[in-house]
Amino acid sequence: MAHVELTVNGRRVRREVEDRTLLVQFLREELDLTGTHVGCDTSQCGACVVHVDGRAVKSCTTLAVQASGSEVTTIEGLARGDQLHPMQAAFREHHGLQCGFCTPGMIMTAVDMVNRLGPDLDSATIRENLEGNICRCTGYHNIVKAIEAGAADMAALKQAAE
């Protein structure tokens, strides 16, 4: 058994789990954070993307014990109370989701994209940086629009705060 101790969405958690427990299993089964999804078994689809210490990580190919000591943010931790994160709001506003299964991973990837590359993202850059996330419903058209808008809204919010 492995001792795992980390901060998830601002909350300290401690568990003894089987060594082979994946981070996604830890989040879903130990913490009941079922917004993080498993869509494949080859680290391709990105439905499981969470942030570990501020960077996007595929939680289906990370052992829970590897994340021990880290700060993890999941889709459940993105909004502040009822105040949606700008990227969440943009996905709704631009119809960037249909069945919703890939959506948490898409949003976490999108936020990471803005954090890494800044808010001025053109369509080609967004499409290229979505390489690790698969959506079967939307044809990506509205996801790209949502990320363009969400990136701008993130910048505006940051500016307003400064």
Binding site: G35, A47, R92, E93, Q98, P104, S123, R136
Partner: protein, 786 residues
């Protein structure tokens, strides 16, 4: 039309839970004492199961039970069935081979289940499954549908000699022969429609719970049609009596047809929950999804089209072999027959059509409906043929199509369908303008100067959806009726619940259906809740597939709303001391026309439930149900134009422009409709450029069984789409709607392939047009004739 009513671009009500991670999919449900199932699956495409030894597995940690096909047969669990009867041309019924949920004797495809381990955790179940020793006696397998009927080919089912399920035909054969005898020109084309794997992002899952006290079962499952699942599980599979089985299809992460069917795993989870006395959950790995979800398409066809001297089509004949895989899936027989050959007239006035279809068994995963189901196969054939004919006849493909368009409605085709309304010139005009068709030669020349090959391709599709009039489909062999149900419950405070037999797995019903109610009564969207997906809450309904939720599902809601409105008006008239015929409903108020006498909708609702002052003889309450059976299919149609640029050095195809102009009749929410088109286009473009299920012809292994090997369309494979709509109202349903869920996937593959073959100057290329194939065609024309 208000800001929230019909025609408004309302953001979706359901989105809040999805964007905050609060969607509830089957795998998210946890019940006390829940155990986990892992299936032992055949590694061979065809083999006799000699023995199964679970001794070691039973001793593994956490193992509760190991069950096999023998246990299943002993418990009299029924075989999986196909629910649509097709008769061959010689009058004999289709040949259905026996399919057990766990196979006790002969496995017929790689991935077929032979045993299941039930354990405390999924990891323990998986570990123990590896310790189940199955001895197989391998048999020769047939993978290629073109070889299935060869003399000496391995035989799959004793019920089906020569692996032939049926040999069926449709159309006017004699007239077609005569048309070809008198033709001035005949164009011939051999064409394949590649096998696809649906890949909804949520893998299939099931959670079966047996309550011994009530002798009652509950099944959470990834289903597009929970009532049909309950019916089939009880009536045919004998798992649980219908009145003692609750099926819940909660949030479902995409379906595209693959979640219509009732699969072995759902049967086993329910059955095992009673056997073990423990709730049993199973969730597919992605590779299991590739190996067990019903695949789509997989046709091989030879087509010939006859023309007169004026380039009018005089006849069309088609010979198709359809691969149905190792077993007949639930609606598999309808796909290459009544959902396919009935659309072979396309948008064209063709006096004589004759189609023959031979359905065969192979040692591959069963094939069934996948987004479009038969109509993409028909459209691909018709529209590749039209483009090829235009090239052979030396005429512009636009002009050839226009010369042959159907222009008067209703139009009876020789293949059953009667087109009710349409304007094919209108969608063609919109698409040509949006695509700047006239400017293409200049763009091609400019691309050539950069060393790129530029091509343009059209596709003028028609499809039949809103499936379908029950009497009609019954006469064609369907085992079910294809009506829909609805119940509208007005609560005492005036909020409204709509219980629908449709099921949303991405389509946005919680929003569009609420828009309909909001439009009708002028109540805010937030006061309307759409309830679906639970057989304990919702009256029997038929579910969502075949782009039917608008044209059929919403029509049922309209019928129920009509009844609610009539009763509300009676109550208001009574309370306002006015004539019922003078009552109008607008902005949430019932008022007497031409006066200031009015009652809020909520007050009328309350009056209905207090019952203190109702018209004489009226029952209290304000709740009405309806069943709606459509009178015809609906016929969405449109023109798609694809423009590609090929880099001859790398074989890379880039879609530089994709234009869609669709006629979906009346539209409730344009934002959602556009989203449906985008998604359909992505799947169709995926079929043309990327996707294809590949089996190793020797070993029978599915080579493309993960996202490492099966090329799913990703964001950078696709362009921004230019979509627009034209409108001819569908006369067949109260809202004038057609259907928009599948059109994109139906219409787009031929547009892409017409563009690629145009760019390369070749006659045909088998989909998917991978860079290797394109490079060979671009660089070595002599080798491209393969």
């Amino acid at each position: 039309m208000g800001i929230e009513g019909i025609g408004a671009r309302v953001v979706r009500k359901e989105d809040k839970r999805f964007i905050t991670g609060r969607g509830r999919y089957t795998d998210d449900f946890v019940v006390p004492r829940m155990a986990h199932a892992f299936f032992v699956r055949s590694p061979h495409p065809h083999a006799r199961v000699v023995s199964i030894d679970a001794t070691a597995a039973r001793d593994m940690p956490g193992v509760i039970d190991v069950l096999t096909g023998r246990d299943l047969v002993d418990d009299r669990i029924g075989n999986l069935i196909c629910g649509w009867m097709i008769h061959s041309l010689d009058g004999t019924p289709m040949k259905m081979g026996a399919w057990h949920a766990l196979e006790p004797e002969i496995v017929r495809f790689v991935g077929q289940g032979v045993a299941v381990v039930i354990a405390e955790t999924k990891a323990e179940a998986r570990d123990a499954a590896e310790a189940v020793e199955v001895e197989y006696d391998e048999l020769p397998a047939v993978i290629d549908p073109a070889r299935a009927r060869d003399a000496g080919a391995p035989q799959l089912h004793p019920e089906a000699p020569e692996n032939t399920i049926f040999h069926w035909g449709l159309g006017n054969k004699d007239a077609t022969e005569a048309a070809f005898a008198n033709a001035k020109k005949v164009v011939k084309l051999d064409i394949t429609n590649n096998r696809l794997i649906p890949n909804a992002m949520e893998p299939r899952a099931a959670l079966g719970v047996y309550d011994g006290a009530e002798e009652h079962f509950t099944l959470w499952t990834t289903s597009q049609n929970p009532h049909v699942a309950r019916l089939v599980l009880s009536a045919f599979y004998n798992v649980a009596p219908e009145h003692k089985l609750r099926v819940i299809a909660p949030d479902v992460g995409g379906g595209f047809g693959s979640k219509i069917y009732i699969y072995p795993e759902e049967i086993v989870c329910l059955w095992a929950s009673k056997r073990t006395g423990r709730p049993v959950k199973w969730v597919a790995d992605r590779t299991e999804a590739f190996l067990t979800d019903a695949h789509g398409r997989d046709h091989i066809s030879h087509a010939e089209m006859a023309f007169d001297a004026d380039n009018r089509i005089t006849g069309f004949r088609i010979d198709t072999t359809a691969n149905l895989g190792a077993y007949m899936s639930l609606f598999s027989s309808s796909v290459p027959t009544y959902l396919y050959a009935t659309l072979l007239s396309g948008q064209y006035d063709i006096p004589a059509i004759w189609a023959e279809v031979t359905a065969v068994y192979t040692n591959t995963v069963p094939v069934d409906a996948y987004r479009g189901a038969g109509r993409p196969e028909a459209t691909y054939l018709v529209e590749r043929m039209m483009e090829t004919a235009a090239r052979d006849l030396g005429v512009d493909p636009v002009e050839l199509r226009r010369k042959n368009f159907v222009r008067s409605f209703p139009h009876q085709t020789p293949v059953i369908m009667c087109y009710d309304a349409g304007d094919y010139d209108a969608s063609m005009d919109v698409a040509l303008k949006a695509a700047d068709y006239a400017g293409f030669p200049a763009r091609k020349a400019e691309a050539a100067r950069r060393g790129r090959l530029r091509g343009i391709g059209l596709s003028c599709y028609i499809e039949a959806c809103g499936i379908a009039p029950s009497k009609a489909v019954g006469s064609l062999g369907a085992g079910v009726g294809l009506w829909e149900s609805a119940e509208v419950r007005v609560n005492p405070v005036g909020t409204i619940e709509v219980l629908t037999g449709s099921h949303s797995h991405g389509q946005g019903h919680e929003t569009t259906f609420a828009q309909l109610v909001s439009s009708r009564f002028g109540v805010p969207l937030d006061s309307v809740a759409i309830v679906h997906g639970d057989t304990d809450k919702v009256q029997f309904g038929m579910g969502t597939y075949g782009s039917r939720s608008g044209a059929v599902g919403m029509s049922a809601i309209v019928k129920a709303l009509d009844k609610v409105e009539a009763k509300a008006k009676k109550i208001a008239a009574h309370l306002l001391e006015a004539s019922e015929t003078d009552i109008e409903i607008a902005d949430g108020t019932l008022k007497v026309a031409g006066t200031d006498k009015a009652l809020p909708f909520a007050q009328v609702a309350l009056a209905a439930y207090t019952g203190h002052n109702l018209p004489a003889g009226m029952e209290p309450g304000l709740k009405e149900g309806a069943f709606y059976d459509p009178t015809n299919f609906t016929f969405p149609a449109g023109t798609y134009i694809c423009e590609v640029e090929i880099d001859p050095d790398t074989g890379t195809t880039k879609i530089v422009q994709f234009v869609a102009a669709d006629d979906f009749g009346k539209i409730i929410n344009p934002m959602i409709v556009e989203g449906q088109v985008h998604g359909g286009l992505a799947q169709g473009i995926g079929q043309a450029l990327l996707e294809g299920a590949h089996y190793d012809p020797e070993s029978g292994q599915l080579i493309t069984a993960s996202y490492m090997d099966y090329a799913m369309p990703r964001a950078d494979d696709l362009p921004d789409f230019i979509v627009s709509t034209v409108e001819t109202v569908c006369p067949g349903n109260p809202l004038g709607m057609k259907g928009c869920g599948e059109a994109g996937a139906i219409g787009s593959p031929p547009a892409v392939m017409n563009a690629i073959t145009d760019a390369l100057g070749i006659r045909d290329m088998a989909m998917p047009a991978t860079p290797e194939k394109v490079w060979r065609a671009a660089m070595r024309p002599a080798m491209a004739a393969e």
